[in-house]
């Protein structure tokens, strides 16, 4: 048996893989995470609505609901120690026509069935009193006080950060090509060197089905990526609405949301468009125009506000509505796939579920006694920022007020970003109104020689 063998290999560093790495490391396992992209969070976890869901509308009795609920609770528990910002916005589910109005009682009933008891109906006047900028076309709705806004990247970065801080290995830019389970351990062929582990977990997100095929020669499900496009409005627009505004969900999508972001902007999206490509996150200008229009039918004043940015994300949807967690005991293999549109909220819950499952299968370790905490910068507009603390050594990105100290801390940190996108996700640099008009040059200078994909042609 090779000596450099890990207890557990996790393929994929999306939010799910990161949460699993943390949980299993804290459980006492030696963990290696293999991610084919140069940076973590480069798949489905790259672009989402960043809502911490309660599970009020999840299918009753589903694994998804269980994971969302336990993930939600743990998120609130660890948010303090991991420095994860939360914006306690609450949500309103709104009806805009008589058909939708009819569905409301059923949705409230379901929420109660799901154990979310503080969901309650509100009449039109009450809603308009709370959110005076909403269109008068509104007919009614209900509130879900527990739906919160979080930082979509800081959370996963904190999970993987804590894992690494406590001994896990993270290999980025390493693709798992195939694997062989013999003599009770896995030998993984990767794009770099071989990796050995006693147990193997597929957290391949958008590639989960292909990874199953590569590793166990069997598909548990088929992924059909579902694209969601977003428009992000200027910070000034965030004063238009304080609650998250949700539409009546349908079978395939939660629908177009309007909510604040933890970074102080206002978001409108996502769309739901099935597609073949697992990579294509292109936006389409006519769709973006439609989203803007949709936004201003709900909040008419939105029409007067500027757009800061736009992006798209891909949901790893399958032919099933529930999560696809399958184990193949005889091969010490687990697939955690099809985490479609609630993975950010459920990640910690999924990790707990898997941890329990492993221990029931006899993979028991001795939990770490005093696990270390990672250092995470809070990037929330609703909390103190680095520039407000003395000694920041000047501001590099003026729109997002990102300091040189912050950027250098991240670049020299334990998991330095290897792409500009990674740096942006960890500092917010160049993500503001000017989208780099002022700071691109400075950024190119600071990151010169430090990124796998440089900002400039090599001279």
């Amino acid at each position: 048996m090779p000596s450099n063998k890990h207890d557990i290999a996790i393929v994929g560093a999306g939010v799910v893989g990161c949460a699993l790495a943390r949980r299993l490391t804290l459980d006492g396992a030696s963990v290696i995470v293999l991610e084919k992209a140069y940076d973590v969070l480069d798949g489905a976890s790259k672009g989402n609505s960043a809502i911490l869901h309660t599970g009020f509308d999840a299918p009753s009795g589903s694994l998804e609901l269980d994971c969302i609920k336990s993930g939600y609770n743990e998120y609130l528990e660890v948010s303090e120690s991991l420095s994860l910002p939360i914006l306690k916005s609450g949500a309103l589910v709104l009806a805009w026509d008589s058909e939708q109005l009819k569905v409301l009682p059923k949705l409230i009933e379901k929420a109660h069935e799901n154990g979310i008891f503080n969901v309650r109906p509100l009449d039109r006047e009450e809603i308009l009193r709370r959110e005076p900028e909403l269109s008068r076309e509104l007919l009614g709705g209900f509130e879900v006080p527990g739906e919160y806004i979080i930082d979509p990247w800081a959370s996963a970065n904190a999970y993987i950060g804590q894992a690494v801080e406590n001994g896990a290995n993270l290999w980025r830019g390493v693709e798992v090509l195939s694997g062989n389970f013999e003599q009770n351990y896995w030998t993984l062929e990767t794009s770099t060197e071989k990796v050995y582990s006693r147990y193997l977990i597929n957290c391949g997100g958008l590639y989960g089905d292909l990874l199953d095929e590569r590793l166990i020669k069997k598909k548990n499900f088929t992924i059909t990526p579902r694209k969601g496009q977003f428009v992000i409005f200027d910070k000034a627009a965030s004063s238009l609405v304080s609650s998250t505004v949700l539409p009546i969900p349908t079978a395939t999508t939660k629908g177009v949301v309007i909510c604040r972001t933890i970074f102080g902007n206002l978001l409108v999206g996502p769309t739901a468009e099935d597609q073949e490509s697992r990579r294509n996150i292109a936006t389409d200008s006519s769709t973006l125009v439609k989203l803007c229009k949709k936004g201003s039918t709900i909040i008419p004043k939105l029409e007067n506000y500027d757009i800061t940015s736009s992006y798209a994300g891909l949901r790893p949807a399958t032919q099933y509505s529930d999560y696809q967690i399958h184990h193949k005991t005889e091969m010490a293999y687990l697939t955690v796939g099809g985490i479609r549109s609630t993975g950010l909220s459920a990640a910690l819950g999924i990790a707990n579920y898997v941890s329990k499952m492993l221990s029931e299968m006899g993979f028991q370790f001795s939990p770490q006694k005093n696990p270390k905490l990672p250092e995470v910068d809070k990037l929330s507009e609703y909390h103190e920022r680095d520039w407000q603390i003395p000694g920041a050594d000047g501001v590099v990105c003026h729109c997002e007020m990102v300091t040189k100290r912050e950027i250098e801390r991240v670049i020299n940190g334990p998991i330095p970003p290897q792409t500009i996108q990674g740096l942006k996700r960890r500092t917010r640099v160049a993500m503001g109104r000017c989208q780099g008009f002022y700071c691109s040059a400075e950024l190119a200078k600071i990151t010169n020689g430090k990124l796998k994909i440089p900002l400039i042609c090599n001279e």
Binding site: I232, D234, K235, A236, R279, N280, I281, A282, T283, D284, S285, S286, T287, L288, V289, C292, N304, D306, I307, T308, S309, S310, Y311, H383, E384, W387, Q388, P390, G391, A392, D393, G394, V395, H398, C399, M401, I420, R433, C434, Q435, G436, F437, Y438, S440, A441, E442, A444, K445, I453, L455, I456, C457, E459
Partner: protein, 402 residues
């Protein structure tokens, strides 16, 4: 946000936010008029503003009667301000404006509360980003504005691409070609969503000389490429899909006032210009604040902003002496023609006072050839025929009022 913040408190007579062309012009003129303590606050490590990164001509014709490159011009402006005794606070960002000419500043080492008698906002403009223009497609590296390109090329000699496409056809788009030439970068095309170039027609032959094809009336622009730009696709004027291979995209023009500071302040922003609304003296709706230069939203040349800055300084001087315009009754100015995008100034203060801007600036959405009326709720201020297509802006003399 943070209640225990400790501010070092300072005072001055006039505080100027932004050390670009307009800010330095105001400051220098105020010193010439013997105003005591004039402070320019600039977040970059040097004053000078946009021209600092312009290694091209023409700058300085009006101010120094000679042709200068932007970088040399910016140095001159700085030298002049220093010689006249302006205090230059660089590496210092204004993070918030408070009522009554009070500013929160952030320097490399401390946070400062600066109380002034008057504040002048001269934070300039920036170009609209790809997102603001709702340009679709992938998100590779190598999609930048002209401003970012200039800084990269001139300040750092970085080369973001070899054969970019230019989106937009304003003056700045043409200046992008010059910037590119500097490093041997050769643009492969210029594309414009409107049906005409956004500069005077005499610029078009320049594209011909440079052998850069021009596509007008394009729509549905899409950027393709994984890590770097590979091509750009769009619908051409006949509605047909067109694809051009390229390795970069320059997003040029559509200037927007840099008003981050105003957005969460008590000062009114004008929907037409997206800049602060001012009266004929250049005062914002909090009359201890003035605004001048490109922040007003008209996207002018540097020489123009310099001149405006000088005029504004003269009015501030009068104001500080307690002369001229004591009145604070502002009435809103309107022009209801749909072709009119903006009107500067947006307010008229009465009594009218002796010192005021000499002209109205009018921006257009679409071509116009008819009479327009500029009025307050009570009076018609100006009436006349305008014939123009939407270029930069039009100027109309402000008539004498009772």
């Amino acid at each position: 946000m943070n209640s225990e913040t400790v501010f070092a408190e300072k005072t001055c007579t006039v505080a100027i936010v932004g050390g670009g062309t307009a800010g330095l012009a105001v400051a220098s003129q105020l010193k010439r008029l013997s105003i005591e303590k004039v402070v320019v606050i600039e977040r970059e490590n040097e004053v000078g503003g946009v021209p600092r990164n312009c290694d091209h001509y023409p700058f300085g014709l009006r101010e120094y009667s000679r042709f200068l490159k932007g970088s040399a011009y910016a140095k001159r402006n700085k030298k002049l301000a220093k010689e006249l005794g302006v205090e230059l606070l660089t590496n210092t960002t204004v993070t918030k404006i408070r009522p009554n000419a009070t500013l929160e500043l952030l320097s490399k080492t401390e946070r400062i509360l600066l109380k002034a008698d008057r504040v002048v906002l001269t934070t300039g403009v920036r170009e609209s980003s790809r997102s603001q223009r709702l340009i679709g497609g992938d998100r590779p590296n190598g999609v930048i504005t002209t401003g970012a390109l200039q800084t990269m090329v001139y300040m750092s000699r970085f080369k973001p691409f070899q054969r970019p496409i230019i989106i937009g056809s304003e003056l700045v788009s043409f200046s992008a070609i010059q910037t590119c030439a500097h490093l041997g970068i050769k643009p492969v095309a210029m594309i414009e969503e409107q049906d005409q170039v956004r500069v005077r027609k005499l610029f078009r032959p320049y594209l011909f000389i440079k052998n850069i094809p021009l596509y007008l009336s394009v729509s549905n622009i899409r950027i393709n490429g994984d890590t770097s730009v590979e091509s750009i696709k769009f619908k051409n004027s006949r509605g047909l899909e067109h694809e051009i291979e390229t390795d970069g995209v320059i997003i040029s023009g559509r200037f927007r006032p840099e008003t981050q500071l105003l957005l969460d302040s008590h000062i009114e922003i004008d929907a037409g210009t997206s800049g602060p609304a001012i009266d004929q003296h250049g005062r914002c709706t909090d009359t201890s604040f003035y605004a001048t230069g490109n922040i007003l939203g008209h996207a002018e040349s540097s020489g123009f902003c310099w001149h405006e800055g000088i005029e504004t300084a003269k009015r501030i001087h009068e104001d500080l002496l307690g002369k001229g315009f004591s009145g604070n009754q502002m009435s809103h100015l309107r022009c209801d023609d749909p072709a009119v995008k903006f009107l500067i100034p947006q307010h008229l203060s009465s009594p009218y006072g002796s010192m005021s801007m000499a002209r109205f600036y009018i921006g257009l959405n679409s071509p116009i050839n008819r009479e327009i009326v500029i009025k307050t709720n009570l009076d018609v201020i100006w009436k006349g025929k305008i014939k123009s297509r939407p270029l930069r802006r039009l100027q109309i003399p402000i008539p004498n009022l009772p």
